[in-house]
């Protein structure tokens, strides 16, 4: 059953959804209707965090959100974490720290960690572990991911300090 057209506000742009079905998840609409496949599907029941996106300031598993219910919210996906041609601090840190292997969990983790650092500019290890315990990674054992978080946090603190000095 199709629903009336609605608009999703994603990464700063409006995306109309036409001929959508009412039971489609935000993850499905992102991936299959709007050609934003960066968010991944590994469990479709909110256990793995591969589909993590930001709804306003809230971190959600997009597989558990009905797409139409996200109309009117500010949606940030991995594709919108940095401007075109640039890398966000967390993205650069993942590369530098060796936190990327197969890369399937990476988009969800990056969105979650980017949000974490907003509230915790200098997070303790246990805080990070708890914050990302909803994001499964099967390759890394999390060691390099935790290292990447510290790198990204230091970079972000550094850039903010510079901003104040300027």
């Amino acid at each position: 059953m199709t629903v009336d057209p609605y608009v999703l506000h994603i990464n700063g742009a409006d995306h109309p959804v036409v001929d959508g079905r009412i039971d489609e998840s935000l993850l499905w609409v992102l991936r299959e209707r709007l050609e934003l496949p960066g968010s991944k599907n590994a469990c479709e029941e909110g256990e793995c965090g591969s589909c993590t996106v930001r709804l306003d300031d809230e971190i959600v598993c997009s597989c558990l959100v009905l797409a139409a219910s996200a109309a009117g919210r500010r949606i940030t996906t991995i594709e919108g974490l940095a401007a075109e041609g640039e890398l966000a601090d967390v993205q650069q840190a993942f590369i530098d720290a060796g936190a990327v292997q197969c890369g399937f969990c990476t988009p969800g983790l990056l969105v979650a960690i980017d949000r974490l650092l907003d509230d915790h500019p200098d997070p303790e290890e246990l805080t990070v572990q708890e914050a990302i315990s909803g994001n499964l990674c099967r390759c890394t054992g999390y060691g390099r991911i935790l290292a990447a978080v510290q790198l990204a946090a230091a970079a972000r603190r550094g850039s903010e300090t510079q901003a104040v000095v300027r």
Binding site: L87, V100, C102, T106, L110, R138
Partner: protein, 768 residues
């Protein structure tokens, strides 16, 4: 949010031994990297699979007419629509593409459908009527050999009777134990997915995640009844593998649907379907008896190993060979009798998973070594050191170790490494997490060490090779190899090797496809660094030699006078120097095939030089256990590993940490629970993978660098050892903490709670 500006391609690769960045790193962090489930195609249909709900049944009829009549359904196929071979298999073609009259495990594919939307696919699958006559499933592997055959090939997949040395040897002390390992799943985060696109000549292109494109291609082509050249496989982004992608899954189904409908077809398994759609690590039952002299010298080991292969053979016979050959661990013992048996049952099919047969026996032989140490009153580390294999020793297949074997070094460095584990007051760090531990005062700590080893590359006479091509043009090296990058970082090493040999900064990896180059073999058995690394090195060296010959001839200088370094061709005499881009304005190309030293089959006594090389590792685990609730917190894991040579330190660390996580999972968390042939927990809600909170810090005590003779750059594969000894170490530490025997992994809360764990060391008496 702060932003770092970074170019979109790697312009700085590293030399061998450096932390070169991954060439696929940027697309993987921006979301641009195309995994196999991310492909779309104009006019694309969706595919789906109808699976048997029964572990054993006759299929009396399959009626797809109602599905075919539905709007939006374009095809509904059964075994009668398979034009070529009805069966496939990596080692033995014994598995039906679609059930032909019998289903032998729950989840076996019966029919496939293509339709315009996944919802239509689901409804069409529901509309297919299958008339099953249920049979009593064969679920106990102990009964398999006597039971009526569940498959025309019989219920015995393989038996190996290994006999080594004098069979009557006895020592002063004997310890005996029976051990069990549950069924672990590889659980790569990316589920099986792919896209098949028919061409206009009756052939098909398949974009799929896999560990071995060419082995897949050959099986798919045989089932489609097509020449191999008419079936082209291209590697799509692989969301992890760990053995789950050695066998084909949806490959033939997708191609059948695409060829029937004349349209591109995409399929993507759900997590539940994925648990049913690939093989698992073999559950094993293992009986052992170790004989030793009073001074700790191992005299003889007897063992019987029973591996449940499930319904189809997959790689069971190679897994069993590993379990049998490495049954005693990395120890010198002159007398052994090991009976390895792999059987067929109506349980889920089992096959490859990281560690490949060595994980199960390591758990058992290390438990035996601890039991022996207790019986002898010896320190368990000293007992291991006293028996540690050395170069020149023979393993129980009679094969002499001609390469490196730093067993004592990995044990000693791991055991001596200072522990950083303190007792944390944070409730989050307790067993079970915040608020779960019953009584903090009852939490006990245990520490133990385990050692393991494994073969690298394929064994038993397999013609194991890898092909690579290099093209150097305008100063840019293009490498072509069909090696499947599954996350391990071969793409980085290929860059590093090309850079090392050719002195070029700019390296491009061509798309990975069966259409452009011959096989690189499987991304498994810790073999690609050695095999495809060796092929890339050989291809680059051939290009280098051809280029220098050409330049030498053109300039009338001896070739020995020329060097290729830092993007320049230079004469040592100083006669001339030219830019590499200029020197390769006319391209230079080479394709090379790399083979490792040949191996032979095992003889009737399980003897022979069946393996190429061996890699060793040790883990020391420290655990906290809540004995009231049976909860375990792994506090720290320390490891040393025999790596030959480190080619990329960060990637090695990534393998050691990631492999250890899978080992911890098997020790205390992960088990596919199977009852009456049915999987009870096929979801991430119920199959528990280690999270960031479950993982302790992994301390790397030592990477033992003793270059392996014959290995490109001296490097051994590093992927599997971390998964082998970690499980055994964690289980042993829980034993030390609780005083319980704990002969089974994963250790479940009920194995500890209410079992009277005392926190005392085990006494080492024989189990009754």
């Amino acid at each position: 949010m702060s932003v770092v500006t970074t170019p979109q391609r790697i312009d700085r690769t590293g030399r061998v031994g450096e932390n070169a960045p991954r060439p696929d790193g940027i697309p993987k962090v921006t979301g641009d990297f195309a995994f196999s489930g991310d492909f779309r195609h104009a006019g694309m249909l969706w595919g789906g699979t109808l699976r048997s709900p029964h572990p054993s049944a006759r299929v009396l009829s399959v009626d797809v007419s109602r599905a075919l009549a539905m709007t939006g359904v374009h095809a509904a196929l059964t075994w009668e629509d398979v034009p070529g071979s009805l069966h496939y298999g990596l080692e033995h073609p014994d598995q039906p593409v679609l059930a032909d009259g019998v289903v032998r495990y729950q989840g076996e594919p019966v029919a496939v459908v293509a339709a315009d939307h996944p919802d239509t696919v689901r409804r069409a699958l529901d509309a297919i009527v299958v008339d099953y006559r249920e049979l009593q499933p064969l679920i106990d592997p102990e009964l398999a050999e006597e039971a009526p055959p569940i498959h025309p090939d019989g219920n015995l997949i393989r038996r190996i009777q290994l006999r080594h040395g004098p069979q009557e040897a006895v020592g002063d002390v004997a310890v005996e134990g029976t051990y069990e390992v549950g069924m672990q799943d590889q659980a790569p985060l990316g589920t099986e997915s792919g896209l098949a696109v028919p061409d206009d000549r009756g052939g098909v292109d398949l974009y799929v995640s896999t560990q071995d494109l060419h082995a897949d291609r050959d099986q798919v082509a045989a089932c489609l009844g097509l020449e191999p050249e008419a079936v082209r496989l291209t590697l799509a982004g692989v969301g992890g593998a760990f053995g789950a992608r050695e066998d084909i899954s949806l490959h033939v189904h997708l191609c059948l649907l695409a060829l029937r409908t004349g349209r591109p077809v995409k399929m993507s398994y759900s997590r539940t379907e994925s648990f049913h759609g690939h093989v698992h690590r073999h559950p094993a039952r293992m009986w052992y008896r170790h004989h030793a002299r009073a001074d700790g010298t191992l005299v003889r080991v007897e063992a019987r190993l029973l591996f449940d292969g499930g319904a189809y053979a997959s790689t069971s016979s190679a897994v069993l060979a590993n379990a049998t050959c490495f049954a005693v661990g990395p120890y010198r013992v002159d007398s052994a009798q090991i009976e390895g048996v792999a059987v067929r049952t109506n349980n889920p099919p089992c096959g490859a998973m990281r560690g490949f047969g060595c994980v199960q026996v390591c758990f058992a032989h290390e438990a035996q070594m601890d039991r022996l140490a207790d019986a002898l009153g010896m320190d368990p580390v000293e007992l291991r050191l006293a028996n540690a294999l050395e170069p020149g020793d023979r393993i129980i297949t009679g094969q002499r170790i001609t390469g490196t074997a730093p067993v004592a070094e990995v044990i000693r460095s791991c055991a001596d490494h200072p522990s950083a584990a303190a007792r944390s007051d944070n409730p989050m760090s307790r067993p079970g997490g915040a608020g779960r531990t019953a009584d903090v005062e009852h939490v006990v700590r245990g520490e133990a060490l385990a050692v393991g080893f494994k073969n690298l590359m394929f064994s038993e006479g397999f013609d194991d090779y890898s092909t690579a091509a290099c093209r150097l043009a305008d100063g840019v090296a293009t490498i072509t190899s069909a090696c499947a990058e599954v996350g391990q970082g071969f793409v980085t090493l290929a860059h590093q090797i090309a850079h090392e040999v050719l002195g070029v900064d700019e390296v491009v990896l061509a798309p990975v496809s069966t259409a452009t180059i011959a096989s690189a073999g499987s991304t498994s058995a810790s073999r690609q660094t050695w095999m495809s690394g060796g092929a890339v090195q050989a291809a680059c060296e051939a290009v280098r030699a051809r280029l220098l010959d050409r330049v030498a001839a053109a300039h009338g200088v001896p070739v020995d006078d020329l060097v290729l370094v830092d993007g320049r061709v230079a004469a040592l005499s100083g006669a001339f120097e030219m830019d590499l881009a200029e020197a390769t304005a006319q391209p230079v190309e080479a394709e090379e095939v790399y083979r490792h030293a040949p191996t032979v089959a095992l003889d009737d006594d399980g003897q022979g030089d069946a393996h190429v090389s061996f890699a060793f590792s040790a883990h020391r685990a420290i655990v906290d256990v809540d004995v009231d609730l049976g909860l375990v917190k792994v506090v720290e894991l320390t490891t040393s590993q025999d790596v030959g040579r480190v080619l990329n330190p960060l990637q090695v660390i990534g393998q050691l940490e990631g492999g250890a996580a899978q080992g911890i999972g098997l020790a205390v968390l992960e088990e596919l629970q199977v009852a009456e042939g049915r999987i009870l927990n096929p979801s991430f809600t119920d199959y528990l993978l280690p999270t960031a909170l479950d993982m302790p810090p992994v301390e790397i005590a030592a990477l033992i660098e003793q270059p392996e003779p014959g290995a490109p750059f001296g490097a051994k594969g590093v992927g599997e050892p971390p998964t082998i000894s970690s499980t055994a170490a964690v289980a042993a530490a829980v034993r030390r903490a609780t005083g319980l025997d704990l002969p089974r992994v994963p250790i479940r809360p009920a194995d500890i709670a209410f079992r009277g764990g005392t926190g005392q060391r085990p006494t080492g008496e024989d189990p009754s």
